[in-house]
Every structure is written in C-alpha cells, then in structure tokens.
C-alpha cells in the first residue's frame, strides 16, 4: 500500500471510507487522524480556478514520500501511515491529497499527521497548474 502514492484524478470518498474500514482488523490501533486536501476555487485577478492539473517528478517524489513516511512512523511510533496524492486534473471542490495515520493514542496521530502534511508540501516535487474558466492557466506555488 505504501508505494501506491499516486492516483489518477480526484481521490473519491469511497476510497477514503474503504481505507478506514480496512484498518478494523488492526485492533492495537486506538486513534486515526486524516488530512484531506481539497482544490480551492481561488479568484485570481478576476479569474476563477476551475481545476488543478498535477504533475510530478515521479522517481524523486516517490523517494521523498517514502522517506517522509518512514521518518514519521519512526518518530511518532505510528502503527501505520498512508499518503495518496492525485495526478492529472482535479476539479475545484474535489480531493487531491489523503494522508492517514494511525497509532495507539490520539496525540501521536495529531502531531504526525500535521508534520507529515507540512513535509509533503515542502519536500515532494509535485507541480500544479491552476486552470481558469477562460482556458488560461498559471503555475501554483505552495506558501
């Protein structure tokens, strides 16, 4: 599961639900934390973002994601951790990232989930083209 970081198109709610359900057999888990990134319909210079097209420098991105995942599991003693990110076009309002961490107690999951999301945004070479309603676009940059 850990290697399947990238998904073509939006992340569907069924996948998120199925992922939660699949943990019911791991009875040492006492807490999950989930982060969902959603494509925002920003208004930029009077033009509305209707979608983001994601591309990736895949080999480096997978290496970085694996490193982040392993570091967080080790640092917070997580029972498991999963990261999924969309590639290709994701429309405004759809989900483009799903981070899911599980541990014995809640505190580790809150902290690990937050740190993991920040590291993904900072270190993973994923690129986003913000596509406007009029057909023009601009490249997005994480704050």
């Amino acid at each position: 599961m850990a290697k399947h970081f990238f998904i073509e198109g939006a992340i569907k709610s069924k996948m998120i639900a199925d992922s939660i359900t699949s943990h019911s057999t791991k009875i040492n888990i006492g807490a999950h934390d989930v982060f969902l990134g959603q494509v925002r319909g920003d208004l930029i210079d009077g033009k509305l973002v209707k979608a983001i097209e994601y591309t990736v420098y895949q080999d480096m991105a997978e290496k970085e994601l694996e490193r982040i995942r392993e570091e967080m599991i080790h640092k917070y003693k997580l029972i498991c951790a999963h990261i999924h990110h969309s590639l290709g076009i994701v429309k405004t309002g759809e989900i483009c990232m799903f981070v899911f961490v599980s541990s014995i107690h809640r505190k580790a999951t809150f902290e690990a989930c937050q740190e993991m999301v920040e590291l993904i945004k900072k270190d993973v070479p994923i690129f986003g083209k913000e596509m406007f309603e009029d057909g023009s676009y601009q490249w997005k940059e994480n704050q």
Binding site: M60, H85, C96, K121, P125, I126, F127, W139, E141, N142
Partner: protein
C-alpha cells in the same frame, strides 16, 4: 513550467564541471529561465550548494512545489 522555456522535457548536454557552471550555461542558452524560480536536483537529490558533476548524472530543474 520550465519546459515552456527550454522547449523540451529532456536535454542532453556536455557535462559542465559543476552545478554552478551548469546553471550559467542553461541561462546562456535559455535566457527566459532567469525569470523563473527553480532548484536543481542531481540524481533525484535536491542540492543546496555547488556540486561537481559526472558523466551520466541525472540533472533535474525543479520548479516550486504545489502538492497538497
């Protein structure tokens, strides 16, 4: 993004002695790159300082990240 300046996704070139020299050569060949923000990765590793380059190193010009 950078492909729009360079005109292709891949480029094979004589090995510059180091990453600073590489950057100079790229800016010479593709002057519009000067307006872009990018980092350099050597063999899938981001570099933060000048490094020596060898034949067959994989160099990537990496635009700002937008994941999440």
């Amino acid at each position: 993004m950078l492909v729009e300046d360079i005109g292709s996704a891949e480029l094979t070139m004589e090995v510059p002695v180091d990453s600073n020299k590489l950057k100079e050569e790229l800016l010479d060949r593709f002057p519009s790159l000067i307006t872009r923000q990018f980092m350099i990765a050597v063999n899938k590793q981001k570099i933060n300082e000048n490094v020596t380059l060898k034949a067959n190193d994989e160099i990537a010009l990496i635009p700002p990240f937008a994941g999440g």
